[in-house]
């Protein structure tokens, strides 16, 4: 049951998109997301969709793979769509049946909002799929490092994220194992009311937390044994260097965003 979760999934490929600097990729993703919220026309969305197809092509990832990433949010997308179709008013009346009334404005807003969410998910999954978690955290750390002046723990946050990403698969596996072991002792995780179910989770949660603490203890010792003492004085094997392709990607994306807003 836990194996379908693909948080922070990264797929290694040798592609132009993979090789971009993570900082630039984060910035571009942010710009594109801002762009998404400023688009107001059908053509703007179409153009943006075309742009993501273009990016996916250059990332050498398959489209179905990215579309699969939409599955978990499909409910939210459809919900948004229908809420707008049914309740947002404006323009011509397209359909009227008993208490249901669909107006042109609602249909368009619904479609716009749904497309917006779908594209948003696609852009962010493109970022995580083409950027290894460690690069992502590296990128975030450097982007946030100016904040260190105001005592913002940029390195610590990035380290926490790395460790979380590293241990998510391990803990999910562990959770699955504990779940099965308790089921083998007749535990019931599926029936009963909400309160009952929450109580039934105790045999899963207590061992899971204990295991997490045990691992944290071990990991702390392993980190210390390898001379880890925070971000001070630490160097990186992979230094981030902005290349010409990074700037090019930025310029193209900026142009696209300006373009889709103006259309």
């Amino acid at each position: 049951m836990f194996k379908n979760i693909t948080i922070g999934q990264y797929i290694a490929r040798e592609s132009t998109v993979h090789e971009l600097d993570p900082r630039m990729k984060i910035i571009i993703t942010l710009i594109l997301i801002v762009g998404l919220f400023l688009i107001g026309s059908f053509w703007g969305f179409l153009f943006m969709a075309a742009y993501i197809m273009f990016l996916i092509y250059f990332s050498r990832l398959s489209l179905p793979l990215l579309v699969r990433g939409l599955k978990p949010v499909i409910f939210i997308i459809l919900f948004t769509l229908f809420i707008h179709i049914l309740f947002t008013r404006g323009g011509e009346v397209l359909l009227e049946w008993r208490f249901i009334r669909v107006e042109e404005g609602g249909l368009f807003t619904g479609l716009f909002m749904a497309t917006r969410i779908a594209l948003l998910i696609l852009f962010t999954s493109l970022l995580t799929l083409t950027t290894s978690p460690i690069q992502l955290t590296d990128g975030l750390e450097t982007l946030m490092s100016p904040l260190k002046v105001v005592k913002f723990p940029a390195h610590e946050l990035a380290m926490m994220m790395t460790i979380a990403l590293r241990f998510i698969p391990t803990l999910l596996e562990e959770a699955e194992k504990i779940l099965k072991a308790q089921k083998a002792r007749g535990a019931d995780f599926e029936s009963g009311n909400l309160l009952r179910r929450a109580q039934n989770l105790i045999p899963l949660l207590v061992p899971l937390f204990l295991s997490a603490f045990r691992r944290a203890d071990d990991l702390a010792a392993a980190l210390e044994a390898r001379c880890y003492r925070g971000g001070v004085g630490r160097t990186r094997m992979k230094e981030l260097v902005l290349k010409r392709s990074d700037w090019l990607a930025l310029v193209i994306s900026l142009l696209v965003v300006v373009g889709v807003i103006l259309i």
Partner: protein, 277 residues
Amino acid sequence: MAFIALEDVHYTYTEGNEPPVQAIHGIDLAIEKGDRIAIVGPNGSGKSTLAKLFNALLTPVQGQVLVDGMDTADEEKIWEIRQRVGMVFQNPDNQLVATMVEEEVAFGPENLGLPPKLIRQRVQEALEMVGMEEYRNFPPHHLSGGQKQRVAIASIIAMRPQCIVFDEPTAMLDPLGRQEVLKTIEKLAGEGITIVYITHFMEEVVDTDRVIILKAGQVMLEGSPLDVFQARDIVEDADLELPDIPCLVDKLQKAGLPLSTGILTKEELVKALCALK
């Protein structure tokens, strides 16, 4: 002076309101450069505590641990000591931090503040040493237990330690993984790295120079593998078991076969038996 020297070391765990637990009870020990020693003892004998005293993860409550002349209680020297004495732990999952093999191996050298180019070179060498270079872009959770342990070893080698302490590195592995790890350690010993190997499998101490049997925080016996295998009473008193081969040799000798007592491995036994014919 010995590379690692313990003088009358005591260690006690104190946790909250619970009564303190004395884990190490006055141990004296000298480990020379290039030594290959094994520390054996049942669970709760203090072996893991002892291991952590070697690289200042713990510091003695009484007595002194000196590494290359540096006192582990000296806060200033901690990082130098840890760079010199690396450590590989039992659980392969809990000692890997990074989400990619290459990053994992780079982690130590990065902490040492080495320049990127040198780190790259060291990562390459370390991965080659343990035979994991093809896996450099793999996430650790896709590796087998033996492979994870080899990555853990590589990540220590990349820090260029003079000594590596192995805390039951094979306890959670299957026979294949165990062989992988033992072979890797063999190779490191060949490179002149000092090896401290902690285990409760007596058959794994056969290849070491010196064996230390620990029980209840004290050294029960210190000697060559042969000495240890002959001290049957002490071994059994320490809740350990002699490996099968020395037991068999003992039995055959008692039945009158003129075998020498120095036989510890299968191969040696087969050779000796053939020579009798």
